[in-house]
């Protein structure tokens, strides 16, 4: 149940020249992604796979929150297709959740974790039974993810605003270790962009020319108290990232084909401008009464309502 740290592996083996560690840069031997998409074309199978995975995320989120009796349905629902795409081949991960040269995913909007745990169980990183005890005493799965207790979680989060800095550190470290194909993904909330530390990290990412860093903004139009532009403006998101030295792409965050096309055909990670993908989404997507609702950032569906809502999801 405890994620082993990379700290123990690979160091001290050889000296290496200064600034580069001794291990040989990795091969793909370990990669076992579900379905690695070819460059450019997005197959119908892949789209179907992403759709199925997103549906699974939405269903499981309802089931898990029924255990917790409180949770962030809507923050998961806006990100369901994004997460499904990442875990359907966009991310370079392997059977071993601690494979050193894997891509990393930093859940900067850590409250999306309840939607990620089912993906980790699906991949066999964690036991399915853990899901049934989500948030119960002694269980490692909380509302925010814990890297030390949950294999497949690359960093502990919960405090908004930290994740992009983590990503900068990881991207810099990946370069230093010579992991030329490793990409660092950071999932950010849109209201989260209010945090100043995001911009400290953004400036550093472009200054250090970390083209192996990809930030995905879940542009679901809302924070906790309401519409982002009403609570505290974050627009123009594209303009802000560009002014901080980033490349920016925009994509429909609920369109599996578009997401797959964007996220699986990125250039090889290297040196250059980091990339921000603005995923246009709807907070609560998939459940009518939750979509862009001001009262559903946090909530709980008791069994009867949960069942009714699951039916609504199935019919979609």
């Amino acid at each position: 149940m405890s994620g082993t740290s990379e700290r123990e592996e690979g160091f001290g083996v050889s000296e290496g020249s200064d600034g580069q560690l001794g291990e040989p840069a990795g091969t793909d031997a370990g990669v076992a992604g579900a379905s690695v998409a070819g460059a450019g074309a997005v197959s119908d199978e892949l789209v179907a796979e992403i759709e199925a995975r997103a549906a699974m995320i939405r269903r499981e989120t309802i089931r898990l929150i029924e255990v917790a009796k409180s949770g962030h349905y809507t923050s998961v629902y806006s990100a369901a297709e994004i997460l499904a795409t990442l875990y359907s081949g966009a991310m370079r991960i392997a059977e071993d959740p601690q494979w050193a040269e894997r891509d990393r995913l930093v859940l900067s909007k850590g409250h999306v974790a309840v939607g990620v745990y089912p993906l980790l169980a699906e991949r066999g990183y964690i036991a399915h039974e853990l899901l049934d005890q989500y948030t119960r005493l002694g269980n490692p799965l909380g509302d925010h993810p814990d890297m030390r207790r949950v294999p497949g979680i690359d960093f502990s989060s919960g405090s908004l605003g930290h994740g992009l800095s983590v990503g900068v550190g990881m991207a810099q470290a990946a370069r230093l270790r010579g992991y030329r194909r490793t990409r660092i993904w950071v999932l950010l909330g849109d209201q989260e962009l209010n945090e100043g530390q995001v911009w400290e990290a953004a400036q550093a990412a472009s200054h250090f020319r970390l083209a192996n860093l990809c930030a995905i903004v879940d542009r679901n139009q809302m924070g906790l108290d309401g519409d982002t532009e009403e609570v505290m403006s974050v627009e123009p998101i594209r303009g802000r990232f560009e002014a901080f030295g980033w490349d920016v792409l925009e994509v429909d965050g609920h369109d599996p084909a578009a997401l797959a096309k964007t996220l699986t055909t990125l250039p090889e990670p290297g040196e250059g401008r980091p990339l921000c993908v603005i995923a246009h989404t709807v907070k609560g997507k998939g459940v009518g009464y939750m979509e862009l609702s001001r009262t559903w950032h946090l909530g709980y569906l008791a069994p009867a309502d949960a069942a009714r809502t699951l039916r609504e999801l199935e019919q979609a």
Binding site: T135, S159, D225, Y289, S293, A302, R308
Partner: protein, 352 residues
């Protein structure tokens, strides 16, 4: 301007009559279901927003700021009544604290509200440099302190805040344990020249102090029960638990003093020394790391007061642990912060 009531902006109208304009209707029909709006109404002791709204009716100096958490801390109650004096800064807590400092220089008394984890740790430098050092009358409503956010985990817990704040010159730190003491603390400190850190719970705290209770007085330990066998020093959620434990002990013929050490800074050393005898027994229970908080304040007070040979026990989060994942009440039970935990630790201490 965030000062004005949200004007709808594409939201459908509410079907719940008690929701402010712009809320959408939640669908649930199962009575056990709830959404953010319903959750807000479950927080019966989260009355700071409401109390400030009342105080502000007659006091133009009061302004309220929050950081995208107006429902969680119910400063939305203030916004409804005084929209022009309410400022939502988005998720930017450090800016909020410093902005409040700027407003204070114009004669305002700003109340800034966010989770205790962010109010204290994320804003530590702003509290010190922008509030405490210039001595500005900004009040920090640090809610969901300790491990009140349960399975949200360490990022949302604040079990280091008292340690930080006890070392901060000019800072006043008060921990009310229920609705009435929260109201009293707000009223008592209105004219305090310097900053205030109000450490608040999650809003589900049962009543401890009767309405209008004169017993809760900022700066003075409240002796809620008197007894010579043992002194229990409590604070926040442990006050009610300590009283319950004391009642059980009383039924067994053991007489316990229960102190609410709500004002952690400046600490009422005299009040404590009056209540703890040399050679006596003291149990401190707090929702904080066992190092640096109320227990430390008590030990220092006794040592300085020359009260020696006190048998001391502490209940809190162990020195080198971060709390597990679980609902808050389960965590309170796990860490012995509930009545049962206090009772069993008290029994052990009495047997020593």
């Amino acid at each position: 301007m965030s000062g004005s009531e949200p004007a709808g902006g594409g939201y459908s109208a509410s079907t719940r009559s008690d929701l402010p304009d712009g809320y959408t209707a939640p669908a649930p029909s199962d009575p056990a279901s709830w959404d953010l709006a319903a959750s807000e109404r479950m927080s019966r002791s989260a009355i700071a927003g409401e109390a400030l709204a009342e105080m502000a009716d007659g006091d133009p100096r009061i302004v309220v700021l929050t950081a995208d958490l107006k429902y969680s801390n119910r400063t939305s109650d203030f916004e409804l009544r005084h929209p022009q004096r309410f400022f939502n800064v988005g998720i930017a807590e450090q800016h909020m604290v410093t902005m409040a400092a700027g407003m204070a220089t114009f004669g305002y008394i700003p109340y800034v509200a966010t989770f205790a984890s962010y109010a204290s740790l994320l804003c530590a430098e702003q509290l010190r440099t922008d509030l405490a050092y210039p001595g500005l009358p900004v009040r920090v409503l640090a809610h969901h302190a300790g491990i009140a956010l349960g399975f949200y985990g360490t990022s949302h817990h604040a079990t280091e805040d008292l340690g930080l704040l006890r070392s901060m010159a000019n800072m006043t730190v008060v921990c009310p344990c229920d609705a009435e003491s929260t109201r009293r603390a707000l009223i008592d400190t209105l004219e305090l020249p310097g900053p205030l850190y109000l450490r608040l719970g999650r809003g589900r705290e049962p009543d401890v102090y009767p309405a209008g209770a004169p017993r809760f007085e900022v700066g003075r330990i409240a002796k809620l029960r008197e007894g010579g066998d043992l002194t229990i020093v409590a604070n926040g959620i442990t006050v009610e638990a300590a009283l319950a434990a004391a009642q059980t002990l009383a039924d067994e013929g053991i007489e316990t003093s229960v102190l609410d050490a709500h004002t952690v800074r400046p600490f009422d050393a005299e009040g404590l020394c009056d209540a703890v005898r040399s050679g006596g027994r003291m149990l401190v229970a707090e929702e904080h790391n066992v190092i640096g908080g109320v227990a430390s304040a008590c030990v220092e007070a006794l040592m300085q007061g020359g009260i020696a040979d006190v048998e001391i026990a502490r209940i809190g989060i162990p020195a080198d642990e971060y709390a597990l994942i679980a609902p808050p009440t389960h965590l309170y039970r796990h860490y012995g912060l509930d009545a049962e935990g206090i009772l069993s630790r008290a029994r052990k201490l009495l047997a020593e």
